[in-house]
């Protein structure tokens, strides 16, 4: 079993610890603009909360039968925090063990977590955009209002944008650092072993 270089260990530690930043900044953002909202409306998703103009967005969305957005509709918020602590702990464990295969495992865990989060967000968006109140004031036949997963989408009078916020980017950076270690170990720190 191959051990990694001290430099790699440090990078892994950094990759783990920066996930703590996500406790202080939002993970994801959804921005919306309409003719009546030139200043835009904003919704920020955190590890365990939703903030921003949520009330206003809910008030507007009730016309088309969408549910009121509230923290209670996301059971994920109960355990996301534990998953994050697990990721941090696992990263530190990888650094301590210093085993190369553990680094691969670390990358895998991060990738799966990220993908799972996106799938979960997509499923919530699907449910939120499709499961509409049949007594809603405005019903446009064939129209659903699933927010974009990533990118921009026009929904009636609103243009919606969805993408990572600072916390999300930190997650991406964390993953990239782990990949960096794999590359370093594979191509640059390999000479000694040979």
């Amino acid at each position: 079993m191959t051990s990694i270089k001290p430099t790699s260990r440090v990078i892994i530690v950094v990759a783990s610890l920066i996930l703590i930043v996500g406790f202080f900044v939002p993970l994801w953002q959804i921005l919306m603009w309409a003719p009546q909202y030139p200043e835009g409306l904003e919704m920020d998703v955190w590890y365990n909360d939703i903030t921003g103009d949520v009330k206003i967005i809910s008030a507007l969305n009730h016309y088309i039968g969408m549910k009121h957005i509230e923290v209670g509709m996301f059971p994920e918020f109960q355990y996301i925090v534990y998953i994050i602590w697990f990721l941090i702990g696992f990263g530190l464990l990888v650094a301590i063990s210093g085993k190369r295969f553990m680094v691969w495992l670390n990358a895998g865990v991060l990738l799966v977590t990220g993908a799972a989060a996106l799938i979960d967000f997509y499923l919530w968006g699907y449910e939120y955009g499709h499961n509409l109140d049949p007594t809603a004031a405005i019903i446009v036949p064939g129209m659903s209002y699933q927010p974009p997963l990533i990118g921009t989408k026009v929904l009636l009078n609103f243009t919606a944008f969805s993408g990572p916020d600072l916390g999300g980017w930190v997650f991406v950076v964390s993953f990239c650092l782990v990949i960096l270690v794999i590359i370093l170990e594979r191509f640059f720190f390999n000479s000694k072993k040979a």
Binding site: D53, K55, I56, A59, L60, Y63, A137, I138
Partner: protein, 666 residues
């Protein structure tokens, strides 16, 4: 009788006809000057772009404060101040009625002449704008965070609060000088002909709270009976002094047109208010009985309170020396304006053919050297020449008011010759003149009355418009004209109509006001006794013959929207809370047959409409502000039953039930 030869007549005709045609060409043209050059682009503010200045323009006989943008001349808002406003419910809602309370009861109208923007160190600070009520003497403070009237204080011992609401350099005081002198104290029922003996004037100094702006009459200075007209505080070196123009030193009480214009000179009254403060601190003031009210609006309870006050502190300058002096000023002075340096005081005798400019330094020397020509009502009169810096010769006819730019120039309005004249304050030399359309009263340079004028424009506020716009019957609009003063010559760039009759106006850079604008009232901070902070908190409650409905409004329904159990003879109070927490989403409320007005409720606010039904039946109510796509669905019904009926109180929204007693309802 000999007949004149025909050729002579023909000859005469030959001469006269072309001559008369020529004469037609020589007739002077009308004064309709057209703006030239790039004027249109200078006043053009493209769609979606902002104006550079707010222009707070007095509404005159509409009793309100009008807010325009400069240089576009677009009207943004009419702030209700001294007149009730059915549009917003100001003066009609239970919460705002106390704002218009006076010692004479509820007064629904007044005449607002002069705005005064608050200053710190003599410069605009963008916190408040004050306004005067000319008829039933009062001063109002408008909060520039909300653009709403926050406070109104009444002035006792005053008749016609014209010489008001001018302010000191740090907004320490707002002044109020009475236009009409009146009998005061215990002896008010006196023959009018005893003016000289019984009629007195007062100048009130209203202190302004440093942080909260709260107004209080700190003291009144009693003066001989005259008419006070306008005023300005000293600034810089003259800070601590206040200058008031006064006319009718003849002390006439009838046909003032003739009887008050006999003397060659009236006065500018100089008041050393720092001295007045000393006398006050030394206990030299006298408490006088006086009834006046103080009204203020609480942004947390969204409710105004009116308090009756019973006494006022007075200072008598005939006893307390070195506090008040008169300075002779030609022919019924109107405007009395201090320049940005605080050294020069410009008096504008409205019947004078010159403009006297007084020097603060010279006034101080004259007082120190006792260069007095006598006294008036026990107050020393400084010698005219001793106080004079110089006179602007032949400036025009009927000088009224003077504003200043940052380059040492003055701009004086001339009502009779209908023009603005630019002159240099130091050299007293006339530099330029432009016509106004027509008969200018006040004028405004942005920051003109401050220590640091913003300059750039002068705006004329005119009394007569005649042929300037599409005509609208006998009653025509008043108007304003905007002139560019950035060059040597004043240049007309815009002409726009105004609401009400504009008197004085002030302009302030938008950057000092707009960033502080409140967008919503926080619903958590709402402490109204009948607030419903959510639809679950709505309620209908009977208290004797009063029915209190705590109702909510949110896009696009009212809760409750079905109300029963009201009986004939009841007084119904609709306390409507706007639950929105989003900018620019007011809701309105109106009910059929209401004898007052509508409510216009801002996000997070609660307002109350009182309604007394006169017949039984079912009455509709609805939201009057087009709030949303389903605004037209935002409606409800209230049922009024006979006085002796047993219909219970019942209220709901969104509940449908089988019609009671209807056939086949089982």
């Amino acid at each position: 009788m000999k007949r004149k030869p025909i050729y002579r007549s023909l000859f005469l005709f030959g001469i006269l006809a072309p001559a008369s045609i020529l004469f037609q060409f020589c007739k002077p043209k009308g004064p309709a000057e057209v703006a030239t050059g790039n004027a249109a682009s200078q006043a053009y503010v493209a769609p979606g772009k902002y104006d550079e200045f707010y222009n707070f323009v007095s509404g005159g006989f509409n009793g309100q404060m009008n807010v325009y943008g400069l240089p576009s001349g677009r009207l943004f808002r009419i702030i209700p101040v001294f007149s009730e406003d059915p549009t917003s419910g100001y003066g009609f809602s239970e919460e705002t009625k106390p704002m218009l309370n006076t010692s004479h009861g509820y007064v629904p109208w007044d005449d607002l002449h002069h705005p005064a923007l608050s200053t710190t160190n003599g410069e605009h600070d963008g916190r408040w704008v004050f306004g005067n009520a000319n008829n039933t003497p009062r001063v109002a403070r408008i909060d520039l965070k909300t653009f709403r009237t926050a406070e109104i204080i009444e002035l006792p011992n005053s008749g016609g609060n014209h010489s008001s609401p001018f302010i000191t350099e740090n907004t320490e005081y707002v002044v109020a000088g009475t236009r009409f002198s009146v009998p005061m104290g215990d002896k008010t029922d006196v023959p009018i002909s005893t003016y000289k003996e019984n009629f007195k004037g007062t100048i009130s100094f209203i202190s302004v709270g440093k942080e909260d702006g709260k107004m209080k009459i700190a003291f009144q200075i009693k003066t001989p009976g005259v008419n006070f007209d306008l005023a300005r505080a000293g600034k810089g070196p003259s800070h601590g002094w206040f200058f008031f123009s006064c006319y009718n030193t003849e002390q006439a009480y009838t046909l003032l047109e003739v009887n008050s214009t006999q003397k060659d000179k009236d006065f500018i009254m100089a008041v050393n208010w720092k001295k007045a403060e000393e006398y006050l601190a030394a206990g030299k003031g006298e408490k006088a009985k006086a009834k006046y009210v103080h009204n203020w609006y609480d942004e947390k309870t969204h409710t105004a309170t009116s308090e009756m006050l019973n006494e006022v502190m007075q200072l008598d300058p005939t006893v307390l020396k070195d506090m008040v002096y008169f300075i002779p000023c030609p022919k019924s002075p109107h405007g009395c304006d201090t320049d940005p340096t605080g050294e020069y005081i410009v008096g504008s005798g409205k019947l004078a053919a010159l403009i006297p400019v007084f020097s603060f330094t010279k006034i101080q020397q004259a007082i120190a050297n006792k260069e007095f020509e006598g006294d008036f009502g026990g107050i020393p009169v400084v010698k005219y020449e001793a106080a004079l810096h110089g006179e602007v010769k032949k400036p025009g006819l009927g000088p009224l008011h003077t504003e200043f730019d940052a380059n040492g120039n003055a701009y004086t309005s001339f009502f009779v010759s209908s023009e603005i004249v630019k002159w240099n304050v130091k050299s007293l030399e006339v530099l330029d003149r432009v016509p106004t359309y027509y008969s200018i009263g006040h004028l405004c340079v942005p920051g003109g009355p401050t220590r640091k004028p913003h300059g750039k424009y002068v705006i004329a506020y005119n009394k007569i418009t005649k042929d300037r716009y599409l005509s609208t019957g006998p009653e025509l609009t008043q108007s304003a004209q905007l002139y560019d003063i950035s060059g040597d010559k004043m240049k007309l760039i815009l002409d726009f109509p105004t609401t009400g009759e504009p008197h004085y106006a002030e302009a302030i850079p938008a950057s000092l006001v707009m960033p502080n604008s409140v967008k919503i009232f926080k619903i958590e901070d709402n402490n109204h006794p009948y607030v419903a902070k959510g639809e679950g908190k709505t309620n209908v409650e009977r208290k004797g013959n009063q029915v209190h409905i705590s109702m909510t409004a949110i896009r696009s329904h009212l809760t409750p929207d079905n109300i029963e159990g009201v009986k004939l003879g009841d007084e119904v109070y609709f306390h409507v809370t706007n639950l929105e927490q989003d900018w620019d989403v007011p809701h309105g409320f109106a009910i059929k047959g209401a004898n007052n007005a509508e409510l216009l409720i801002m996000p997070g606010e609660t307002q109350t409409l009182k309604w007394k039904p006169l017949t039984t039946g079912v009455f509709p109510f609805y939201c009057t502000d087009f709030c949303s796509a389903l605004h037209q669905e935002m409606q409800g019904y209230i049922r009024v039953s006979p006085a002796n009926s047993n219909v219970p109180i019942k209220f709901s929204t969104g509940r449908t039930e089988a019609p009671a007693g209807a056939a086949g309802s089982k």
